[in-house]
Every structure is written in structure tokens, then in C-alpha cells.
């Protein structure tokens, strides 16, 4: 099924308030953050859709629009088709439901997004930093992140030897 056909099924099930079609860039389905869990569960359990794998989950910061976009690249090994979901959450309060109960791989992928972009996934069983140290301040993949001048007394600037 292509993106448009998948969108039509989602539209019939959830209505226009929940899902919209986004044809800028790769065709994607925009989902209202509060409904993301229900949409994902439906995408996985519906026999014709059968998205059994969350292939990639990533986040993109858009300070100009004042939101953070979480992007889901889904794949179905059973039906052999792919689909993209995009969810926008407010930058100052980036909270949205976790989908780990649908796909276990989200446990780690959501931890990475939390670590690097600061999105809080509600209901996540283990939302800790994953790549950065526990005492790190800030989320480096946010566009307004300023590199600290030192970490535990170690300077992050290196003098030129020349």
C-alpha cells in the first residue's frame, strides 16, 4: 500500500482531527500527538496494514515553528510496505505518549530522543539518558543548545598549538 492509501484507511478510522496528509518531502501522515498510541496500535494490528516493525524513530527541532517533530518510519515484514508518521509537539512542553507497548524497539529509540532532544514520552518504563552522561545539562540536538565551556573541570575548548 502506498502512503495515500494508508492515509485513507487512517482517515476513515480516526477522522480529520487526528490525521492529515503531508506531501512536503517524503509523503507522510501527520498524527495528533494525543492519538499516536491508538494510531500505531491500529497500524500494527490491522491485518491489511500489519506494521510489525518500527524501523526508525527520530526527532527534529524546529524553533521557528516552535515545535519538535517526532518521525516514525514503519515497515511491515509481513506485507512488505513502509509508511512515515510525523508528530509535532510543543517545544516548551514536549510531552507525548510512548509507543513502547506497540513495538519494544521504541524503548531505546525513545530514550535516545529524550536524551538528545528532550521529548518526554509518557508511560515509558525507563526514560533515562542513554548516550550522554546522567548529569549532562541540556539536549544537544536542539538548535538553541549552547556547548558548555567545561565538563567537570575539563575545558571543551582547545588552544591552538601554533
Amino acid at each position: 500500500m502506498d502512503a495515500a492509501a494508508i492515509f485513507e484507511r487512517l482517515q476513515a478510522r480516526f477522522g480529520d482531527a487526528v490525521v492529515t496528509f503531508d506531501s512536503g518531502g517524503e509523503p507522510a501522515v501527520r498524527v495528533n500527538p494525543s492519538a499516536i498510541f491508538q494510531v500505531c496500535e491500529y497500524l500494527k494490528t490491522d491485518p491489511a496494514l500489519g506494521f510489525d516493525c518500527l524501523s526508525n524513530q527520530s526527532g527534529v527541532d524546529y524553533p521557528k515553528r516552535n515545535d519538535i517533530e517526532v518521525v516514525y518510519h514503519l515497515y511491515s515484514y509481513r506485507v512488505r510496505h513502509a509508511c512515515v508518521l510525523k508528530v509535532s509537539v510543543a517545544r516548551d512542553n514536549p510531552t507525548m505518549p510512548s509507543v513502547w507497548r506497540v513495538w519494544k524497539t521504541a524503548i531505546w529509540q525513545e530514550r535516545e530522543i529524550f536524551d538528545l532532544l528532550g521529548v518526554v514520552f509518557e508511560g515509558h518504563p525507563d526514560l533515562r539518558r542513554i548516550l550522554l552522561p546522567e548529569d549532562w545539562v541540556g539536549h544537544p540536538l536542539r538548535k538553541d543548545f549552547v556547548e558548555p565551556t567545561e565538563y567537570h573541570g575539563i575545558s571543551t575548548k582547545r588552544e591552538s598549538m601554533l
Partner: protein, 384 residues
């Protein structure tokens, strides 16, 4: 009582209390293949859990991409997975080409396939060799590394580097095949192919080796998909899926090759042995692809004209390719400027590490080494 397939006699003499022990494995440990740490809770020899602690090699490669521009990022992709850097080069090339709608010349696609498949064999040799070493057989490691050196020589002649190649460019490859290089590559295949049988005779079906790997850390197909395992780890669980076959890219549809999967020949489908043997068989298939590619390299340019100030149109692109560690995802967002707005690299080692906590429950401590080796983890690929 039975724990994780082992018959363990738990003795509690005289009503003495036993307690769980917390052990630290890594970050510096010879079998963690880089800097990787596990926090192990063990009851005697049996693990209750092994929680991976990653991030020691985080170099913020994705953030660097936002600062160095599209062309400038190519050498950094080598560092994502230094054991198989060619597929990383290709992934970055492919995602940029998709963003800007660039067509790669056919000769360049052949050069890419040849380089990537040679690199895949080199990576699998390191995995297979170090797997033997991790569970106590040192000799196979030296045999595997000996052949890997020949591949490094070939790739060095191709691009000047033995590990971090920086061979590919957006729109093709940096250098054409050197004169008389193709016969050398064919001579390597003639030498190497019979040696795969030697590895099988030496270790694959060695009784001690099989005992260490069969029925250890069995992962069902459904679990493998749920945790997003990819590549040989997924195929070891019996899922016949290879990006080169199922979402074809480059010139792979022109070549004949099979996709080996785990069959549980000495144990259960999805055990450590299946993940191991899939890699051995993939080396055979890579040789098949290489022979066809080397015989049919077309004439023509190896690099299409791409502006130095590369500005792809606003939008995003996601590509998947089969790296040595499986389906690798590259996501790139462009805002129309000279610098990528956001790059995300979804690697096989990252998702494979996430299942270790689950599969390590109830197995012996020594098997954690076999599990880590069977996933073919490369720590910088987890941490990026």
C-alpha cells in the same frame, strides 16, 4: 531445577541466605568489541539481568553533520562503523542523492557494490574470527584476520586507506578502479572461497563450539522484529529479509544471490549458532555478487557533476541499505541550505543492544560473551 536450558542444582546448605551479586563488565573488556559496559546481576553463575550501559563512544556525529555540510560529512561516516565503513559511505551518498534527485553513473554503482561487498566479507571475517576468540578458540581469529588483510590491501589500493575509506562521494565514487585491480580481486576470490570450507571444518561444526552456541539466547522471529533486529541477527531468527533483495537499491537487482537464514540446524532457530552461520554463508553470497560485478564493470564516468555548494531542495529523505550489520537507516532533513538540517543514522548495533537485557535473563554469565559476539556489535555504531 532448570534455568535457561541448563540443569542447575541450586544448593542452599544449612538454610544459609544467598544474595544476588552485582557485577560490572566493561567498559574496558576484551570481549565487548569496543567500549561497552554491562551491569550484571548474577545469582552464582546465572544472570538475573544484564543491563547495557552505552554511550562511552558518543561523538555526536549527527550534530557534527549539521556543522560541516554535505560533502564535508563523508569522512565522518567512516567513523560510524569503522569495521564496515563502505556501507556507511554509501548510505550518506544515497540519502543525499535521494534528496537532490541525483543519478549515479552505472560504473560508479559497480565500484560501490564491489567495495561494499569486499568490506562486508572483511567485516564478517572479523566477526567470525573474534567470535571464536571470545569463546576460547584463538586460532580461527588469526586465520580470519589473515584473509582480511588481503581485502584491506585491495581496498587500500582502491582508495588509499585500510579502515576509514572515505571512498564514496555524493554522486559516485572518488576514484576509478586502478589498472590491473580487477584481476587481483578475482585472484583473491579464487583463494578465499575454498577457505570458507576450511573455517567450517576448523570451527563451525567443532563440537565444543557448537555446544557453546546452540540453543543459547534463542530469539523468535516475532521478537526479532519487535526489537527491530536487522541483518544477520534477523535472518538468524529465520526471517528471510535482505534490503538488497526486498527493497533493492543500486545495481543489486542485476546480480544473482541467495539470502541465507537460520534453520536451527544444531539447535533452535534463532540461537547464537544461527546468527553465526548466517554470516559464514553470507560470505559465500558476497563472493558470488563480487564475481558477477567484477566480470561486468561497465565503461563510463565514476562521478557525476555535483556542485561544490551542494544545496538539496527543502524536504526530507529516508533510505535503507544492507550494511554488514544489516538494514541501516539514514534520515536526512534539508532546509535548502549548504548544511544538513538534521541527520539521523539508525544502526543495527543500537537495536541489537536493546534486546540483550531481555535475552540474558536466566542464562550463564559466560554466555553473555557468546551473545554479544553473536550480535556482532560494534560499539561506535551503537553510540555514534
Amino acid at each position: 531445577m532448570s534455568l535457561g536450558g541448563y540443569d542447575v542444582e541450586v544448593q542452599r546448605p544449612g538454610g544459609l541466605a544467598t544474595e544476588e551479586m552485582t557485577l560490572n563488565m566493561g567498559p574496558q573488556h576484551p570481549s565487548t568489541h569496543g567500549v561497552l559496559r554491562f551491569i550484571v546481576k548474577a545469582d552464582g553463575e546465572v544472570m538475573r539481568e544484564a543491563i547495557p550501559d552505552v554511550g562511552y563512544l558518543h561523538r555526536s556525529i549527527e550534530k557534527i553533520a549539521e556543522k560541516v555540510g554535505y560533502h564535508g560529512f563523508m569522512p565522518y561516516t567512516d567513523r560510524v562503523d569503522y569495521v564496515a565503513a563502505m556501507p556507511c559511505n554509501q548510505g550518506w551518498g544515497m540519502v543525499c542523492e535521494k534528496l537532490a534527485g541525483i543519478e549515479v553513473p552505472r560504473r560508479a554503482e559497480y565500484c560501490r557494490v564491489i567495495a561494499v561487498e569486499l568490506n562486508r566479507i572483511a567485516s564478517h571475517l572479523l566477526s567470525v574470527g573474534s567470535m571464536g576468540m571470545d569463546i576460547g578458540a584463538y586460532t580461527p581469529f588469526t586465520h580470519a584476520l589473515r584473509e582480511r588483510e588481503y581485502i584491506n590491501d585491495l581496498l587500500e589500493e582502491l582508495c588509499g586507506a585500510r579502515l576509514t575509506f572515505n571512498y564514496m562521494r555524493i554522486g559516485g565514487v572518488a576514484w576509478d578502479l586502478p589498472p590491473d585491480w580487477v584481476p587481483k580481486a578475482v585472484a583473491f576470490l579464487d583463494r578465499f572461497e575454498p577457505l570458507i570450507d576450511e573455517y567450517n571444518a576448523l570451527i563451525s561444526y567443532n563440537k565444543i563450539y557448537v555446544e557453546r552456541l546452540a540453543n543459547v539466547a534463542v530469539i523468535s522471529a516475532a521478537e526479532a522484529i519487535d526489537y527491530n533486529l536487522v541483518g544477520p541477527n534477523l535472518r538468524g531468527s529465520g526471517v528471510k529479509y535482505d534490503v538488497r533483495k526486498d527493497m533493492p537499491y543500486s545495481v543489486y537487482p542485476e546480480f544473482e544471490f541467495d539470502v541465507p537464514i537460520g534453520t536451527g540446524e544444531v539447535g533452535t532457530v534463532g540461537d547464537c549458532f544461527d546468527r553465526y552461520i548466517v554470516r559464514i554463508r553470507e560470505m559465500n553470497q558476497s563472493c558470488r555478487i563480487l564475481r558477477q560485478a567484477l566480470a561486468g564493470v561497465p565503461e563510463g564516468p565514476v562521478l557525476t557533476k555535483v556542485p561544490r555548494k551542494f544545496k538539496p531542495p527543502v524536504g526530507d529523505a529516508y533510505i535503507r541499505l544492507e550494511s554488514a550489520r544489516g538494514d541501516m537507516g539514514w534520515y536526512c532533513v534539508s532546509d535548502g541550505s549548504e548544511y544538513p538540517y538534521r541527520v539521523k543514522i539508525r544502526t543495527g548495533s543500537f537495536t541489537a543492544t536493546s534486546i540483550i537485557d531481555k535475552v540474558s535473563r536466566g542464562v550463564m554469565l559466560a554466555d553473555l560473551i557468546a551473545i554479544v559476539a553473536s550480535f556482532d556489535l560494534v560499539a561506535p555504531e551503537i553510540d555514534r
